[in-house]
């Protein structure tokens, strides 16, 4: 049984919707710059890829109260775009799910509330919603979308939104749901900025994934969703779906809490598993959207695993030089980019790449490639806790 992608929506540092993101990707326009929205002492020293809109502006765009977490605004904007894009007749008559991922929940709010709490553990601020409650963000958006048949939140660090899409597809295949809006969101927070900084894996310049001289990642924020539908729903659509979710796999590296194994065992198993499910061979993959964070460890493990599986490595690039690493949102955003690649026959470049890594035989794409035939795209996402997931998107016949 096929699972079709009927719609997509995205917001990131390079645009507030799919069209703006696509234009920036084509124009090689990075979203990494000086921090201006998040109040932090690192504003001048650690670049990041922020959505350059205040909470008030975002809240206004999505119709939520401006006191809600920023993560919910990003989620709402992208999820609503995806649902509108799918334009499913009689949306209400189907069994519908909203499977969203995030890793910071309402952390942006906690940072403020917690300060008050430390001063007075009886502060009125405590009446606000629990800041570690990631499901709270999902329910705010589910309520807006009018979805209540199946709602849940996945939190597997940076692989979260791949697992959200996979879980949604599995529910459709098991005939439990007909439509699933799946993806993820995350906002910038001092918590994650200081956390990654304490691990010394943030680049003080715009990141350079897969470069021999890479120095780390830049954090980003955003949200990306796809609307997954069954064959039955797909048959009712005026706009024929361009893409199917052909394969996915979730594996665990079981090596270290925050580092990948040197041989990329989990990465290898995730890619291998996704290929097996899709029934495709390595030669069929036209493009890999890399996890490619820009850290020494990730790019090496992922690169070695790719080399082992593919031998003859297809075109690859990381789009994180555009968007930064958006954590729980990255696979949702990169799913949208992978689909754009298939729909438009375009492969986006790995910006700022200069020097080949000495351990690898391949280099990423460095220029925009147009008029390509892109039928099958693999997208990787790997996270803390050894969580490794890969997904394959294929052109619908």
């Amino acid at each position: 049984m096929k699972v079709f992608i009927a719609g997509k929506g995205v917001i990131s540092a390079i645009g507030n919707n799919v069209a703006e993101n696509f234009a920036s990707l084509r124009n090689l326009q990075t979203g990494v710059s000086k921090i201006t929205v998040l109040p932090t002492r690192y504003a001048e020293t650690l670049p990041a890829a922020e959505v350059k809109l205040s909470n008030e502006e975002l809240a206004q765009r999505c119709g939520l109260n401006s006191s809600e977490p920023r993560t919910a605004f990003l989620s709402s904007i992208a999820a609503k775009e995806a649902v509108a894009d799918a334009n499913i007749p009689d949306f209400k008559k189907w069994r519908t799910g909203f499977i969203s991922a995030n890793t910071v929940g309402a952390m942006d709010k906690t940072e403020t509330i917690y300060k008050y709490y430390l001063e007075d553990d009886n502060t009125d601020k405590l009446i606000e919603e629990d800041p570690y409650d990631e499901g709270y963000v999902t329910e705010l958006v589910a309520n807006q979308l009018g979805i209540n048949d199946h709602i849940t939140t996945i939190s597997t660090a940076c692989s979260s939104s791949t697992n959200a899409m996979a879980y949604g597809a599995r529910l459709i295949k098991a005939n439990q749901l007909d439509i699933v809006v799946a993806g993820g969101c995350d906002a910038m927070s001092k918590f994650t900025l200081n956390g990654f900084n304490s691990l010394m894996i943030l680049d003080t310049n715009p990141c350079t994934p897969y470069d021999e001289n890479r120095k780390g990642l830049n954090l980003g924020e955003g949200a990306g969703y796809v609307v997954l539908v069954s064959e039955e729903v797909a048959a009712t659509l005026a706009k024929k779906p361009t893409t199917i979710l052909a394969g996915y796999a979730n594996a665990n590296d079981a090596f270290h809490q925050t580092a990948s194994s040197p041989e990329g065992k989990g990465n290898f198993m995730a890619m291998q598993g996704a290929l097996e499910m899709s029934g495709l061979s390595t030669k069929d993959i036209d493009y890999i959207n890399l996890h490619g964070t820009g850290t020494s460890n990730n790019d090496l493990s992922e690169g070695i695993a790719i080399q082992r599986i593919f031998g003859d490595v297809p075109k690859v690039s990381s789009t994180k030089p555009y968007t930064g690493h958006t954590l729980g949102a990255c696979a949702g955003i990169e799913a949208v980019y992978s689909i754009l690649s298939i729909e438009n026959g375009i492969i986006f470049p790995n910006l700022r790449f200069q020097t080949k890594m000495k351990e690898l035989d391949f280099v990423p794409v460095t220029e925009l490639l147009e008029n390509m035939e892109v039928k099958h795209v693999m997208s990787n996402s790997f996270g803390f806790g050894g969580n490794c997931s890969s997904v394959i998107f294929s052109k619908a016949n």
Partner: protein
């Protein structure tokens, strides 16, 4: 898809970590905050790890390892877990230090443990489980989603799925529950929580894990038949219809049910629907309650799952959990729990 429960592990505010016991002695607390009775962690981790690990990391991981050992397996086929709030104590330690030093120098130790998937991946790390590893973090649906994930995995030809849930009551959460008047006032005995006097819940926590499999073993506790989650049901009437249709879908009926595990918590407003159903729908069933033992938290249905497993295997209902006794033996068990907008049903069958 019905699955056999072949191994269990539970660490809670009661002495539940030893599978050879079954609530022989119930712990009474005179506070509105229940915390876990620790197991002997040296059986699971080396001294260095014990020092570095936060409290939930220890009892969550240990509960998972107890279930794996109980099932007599080395490596589960996959791991799927639920946690509503992740690891708030370590996350708050990181947050506190970052606020105190105004973002200057912070240690990564607590940050590393702050992602919600830490326990699930730590179990994978300890038993070298390279397979599917998922963590759901959605309020009162966290454990329920992990169960659905496990059922899907078995349909997809995996077996021996380790499924579980864990949460802790942090100082911050406790203060927030006090402030919102969710908590009943102190001092109060956990054993009196369902009485007429007082209003509000007792804060609780715990971890419970299960090995779910296609085949029965000598250690099987019973069968987990099915579960279903409901978002925002609005009335007793609506929930009543959901219950009847859930039973019908699973080729069962109200008459078949011997025992109902009720998520009654001591909060008058949210208990209204449960009390109504207990009185009017479940008139012939023995009704069992559990939140006086573990307290209220968003993944408490995992504790109820443990209780169902133990009752099925022992074919006995401890006096300490009986709310309404109709002298029925625990063959077919229905669990109805809810946390705010998240309601869920689970069905069990003794073997």
């Amino acid at each position: 898809m019905a699955l056999f429960i072949n191994g269990i592990g539970c660490i809670s505010p009661q002495r539940t970590f030893d599978n050879s016991e079954f609530l022989a002695e119930v712990k009474e607390y005179s506070t509105n905050r229940l915390t876990c009775v620790d197991a002997d962690y040296t059986k699971f981790f080396d001294a260095g790890s014990i020092r570095r690990m936060g409290r939930l990391m220890k009892y969550g991981t240990a509960a998972g390892m107890i279930a794996i050992r109980d099932a007599g397996i080395e490596v589960p086929g996959a791991i799927s877990t639920g946690t509503a709030l992740g690891l708030p104590e370590v996350s708050q330690r990181f947050l506190k230090s970052l606020i105190e030093v105004d973002e200057t120098i912070v240690s990564p130790t607590t940050f590393i443990q702050s992602t919600h998937n830490t326990v699930s991946s730590n179990i994978a790390l300890l038993c070298k489980c390279f397979s599917h590893n998922n963590t759901f973090s959605h309020k009162g649906f966290s454990f329920e989603s992990a169960l659905t994930d496990a059922q899907l995995l078995v349909l997809e030809n995996m077996d021996n799925i380790l499924v579980g849930a864990y949460d802790e009551v942090s100082d911050y959460k406790y203060a927030a529950m006090k402030k919102t008047k969710e908590l009943r006032s102190e001092p109060s005995s956990n054993l009196d929580v369902y009485g007429e006097k007082g209003n509000g819940v007792i804060a609780g926590e715990g971890a419970a894990f299960f090995v779910l499999a296609k085949e029965k073993t000598e250690n099987t506790y019973g069968m987990f038949v099915s579960n279903k989650a409901f978002y925002k049901p609005e009335s007793t009437e609506e929930m009543r219809n959901h219950i009847l249709s859930f039973l019908k879908t699973n080729n069962s009926s109200l008459e078949d049910i011997d025992v109902v595990i009720s998520g009654i918590s001591g909060a008058k407003e949210t208990d209204a629907i449960r009390i109504d159903l207990n009185k009017n729908l479940f008139a012939t069933q023995t009704i069992v309650a559990y939140k006086h033992l573990c307290g209220e938290y968003m993944t408490s249905s995992a504790f109820a799952f443990w209780l169902a497993s133990k009752m099925m295997k022992a074919q006995q209902i401890p006096d300490a959990v009986i709310l309404e006794n109709k002298n029925r033996s625990p063959k077919n068990i229905l669990l109805y729990n809810s946390h705010k907008h998240n309601h869920s049903l689970m069905l069990f069958k003794a073997c």
